[in-house]
Amino acid sequence: MKVLVPVKEVATVEDEFEIDGTTIDERYLGADLNEWDDYAIEEAVQLEEDGIVDEVVTVTIGDEETEQTIRQALAKGADRAIRVWDDTLEDVDLLDVGAKVAILEAIVEAEDPDLVLTGVQSGDDSFGATGVALAEAVGYQWGAVVNQLDLGAGDETASVHRELEGGIEELTEIDLPAVLTIQTGINEPRYASLRGIRMAQRKDLDHQTLADLGVEADAVAGDLRLTAMYEPESESDTTVFEGGADETAAALADLLREKGVAQ
């Protein structure tokens, strides 16, 4: 059984930042492996360690700089990686769900995985829709917000728990092939070991362009345009306790006594 794990490098933002047009000034941006995808990689690697899966392949849409993040996924146990990028993508302002799906659809067709595991959402643009949209596009079954996956060798169905709101979980049987979007907490993602990091350098990282995949430039142009970015206005009038820790703690202690919740 082969598992494909779409992995994203997300932008992280410092506590203090400035906005430049419709982006955050790059001085305040960092990059990291998307948190939800980290759990998806771990789930795939555990399935391989359990002898259920033979190969774990990652795919990332991103420029050369994302290779550092891709190597993280390889160091955690993925067998090989595909990176998709070219000049056309460089010029796309907002890669929306439809655009991502157009690319990933081509990868699924080329790789023909039995299972696609990816994060529920990404920490930067938080669309939360790519996995399910991909499943529909390629004709796979799917499950969104999965926090438990049971799969045995030769199973044709994945038994999953989907995490609903309010502490309720839904138990569902999903036919394979399927795309599952993975929620945090499903497992404990490993740190990349030194040995894993060394091995990752030798693993195959294949660069593909849209032309290689047969994806037309029109398909990734997207229908959404980001027109403004700003810091949200505070909804409440917050009283900020000023001063050193002793002063602020004393002010908070007074408040708690005043509210009658502490003596």
Binding site: G143, G167, E169, E188, L252, V261
Partner: protein
């Protein structure tokens, strides 16, 4: 393409969920801008009873699809797509709930229309839909324009007031042609997460911790504070994901909803899923080094300082 709007209701275990009345509000606003009708769809379960409850102010027609009991994404995808094909609405409005995210992207893909998820605001400018969304965990808000005649959106829960006033909508049964061979998933049951001995939803004073505590051993410091204040300990999701506290301590959309007299959020940035579970607290106090953390938007009182300085000083105040 008509100027109409189609909103999709949500129910679970026999109850309409609050977001059903919220999609009606969002749908009414959009239909007001386009000048079209508002259609509401309800799929599965006791559709007659749900249709009565959805006959709300602003709704022109409620379409019932009597198929199945509980949510099944294959059924929802087929039913909503067929209804959208029949009505040709300009906009489709669905909840950005766990189930919404399990069918809305498939509907948009099948209809070949753009999708804007997790909108916190919606407006139109001429024929263009403008969605307001958050990025980077709520640190910034963005406006996104949709260049298409028809679009699908999912709306964040609790951002629109639920419509409560009754209306005079027409109820119509929609005969969806559900292809049973295309149903590839089966819901076999529901489970509640582990209960445990403490019910955080009953507490008057909650000391709640997040990622900011950094290491599991730092929990000792927080437990000391909890004891000094005679409070109850709760947390945001990452603490439970890390296995440092059991699931019954989790506050948020997927955990418990709490409404204590005072909620002290320590090292919690305030992801929307967390805020959904605690914004009803009477007084919210946030202790966080980051003055721009989203939790500050809803905090009544704030300390912009290192928790490892403030918490020991606070313990000192009560010992």
């Amino acid at each position: 393409m008509s100027a109409d709007v189609l909103a999709v209701a949500e129910h679970r275990q026999g109850e309409l969920r609050d977001v059903s009345r919220e999609v009606v509000t969002a749908g009414t606003e959009l239909a007001g801008e386009t000048g079209g009708d508002l259609h509401v769809a309800v799929v599965g379960g006791d559709v007659e009873t749900f249709a009565d409850a959805l006959t709300l102010e602003g709704v022109d027609t409620v379409h019932t699809v009597a198929y199945g009991e509980e949510f099944n994404h294959d059924v929802y995808t087929q039913a909503v797509t067929q209804l959208a094909d029949a009505l040709e609405p300009a906009y489709l409005v669905m909840p950005n709930s766990v189930n919404g995210l399990d069918y809305a992207p498939a509907v948009a893909t099948r209809l070949e229309i753009p999708l804007v998820t997790d909108a916190v605001g919606l407006a139109t400018e001429g024929d263009t839909l403008v969605g307001t969304r958050e990025m980077y965990g709520g640190k910034v808000e963005t406006t996104t324009e949709v260049d298409a005649e028809q679009a699908a959106v999912t709306i964040r829960g609790a951002e629109w007031e639920p419509t409560e006033a009754a209306g005079d909508a027409t109820v119509e049964a929609f005969e969806a042609d559900i292809d049973e061979d295309a149903i590839g998933s089966t819901v076999t049951g529901f489970e509640e997460v582990a209960g445990g001995d403490v019910d955080i939803s009953e507490a008057d004073l909650l000391v709640s911790i997040g990622r900011g505590i950094e290491e599991e051993e730092n929990l000792d410091l927080i437990r000391e504070l909890v004891e000094a204040l005679d409070a109850t300990l709760s947390s945001s999701r990452p603490i439970v994901d890390a296995g440092w506290l059991p699931a019954n301590r989790q506050v948020g959309q997927s955990g418990k909803v709490v409404t204590p007299d005072v909620y002290i959020a320590i090292g919690i940035s305030g992801a929307v899923q967390h805020v959904a579970g605690m914004k009803g607290s009477e007084t919210i106090v946030a202790i966080n080094t980051d003055p721009n953390a989203p939790i500050m938007d809803i905090a009544d009182y704030a300390i912009h300082d290192d928790l490892f300085d403030v918490v020991p000083a606070l313990i000192e105040q009560f010992s």
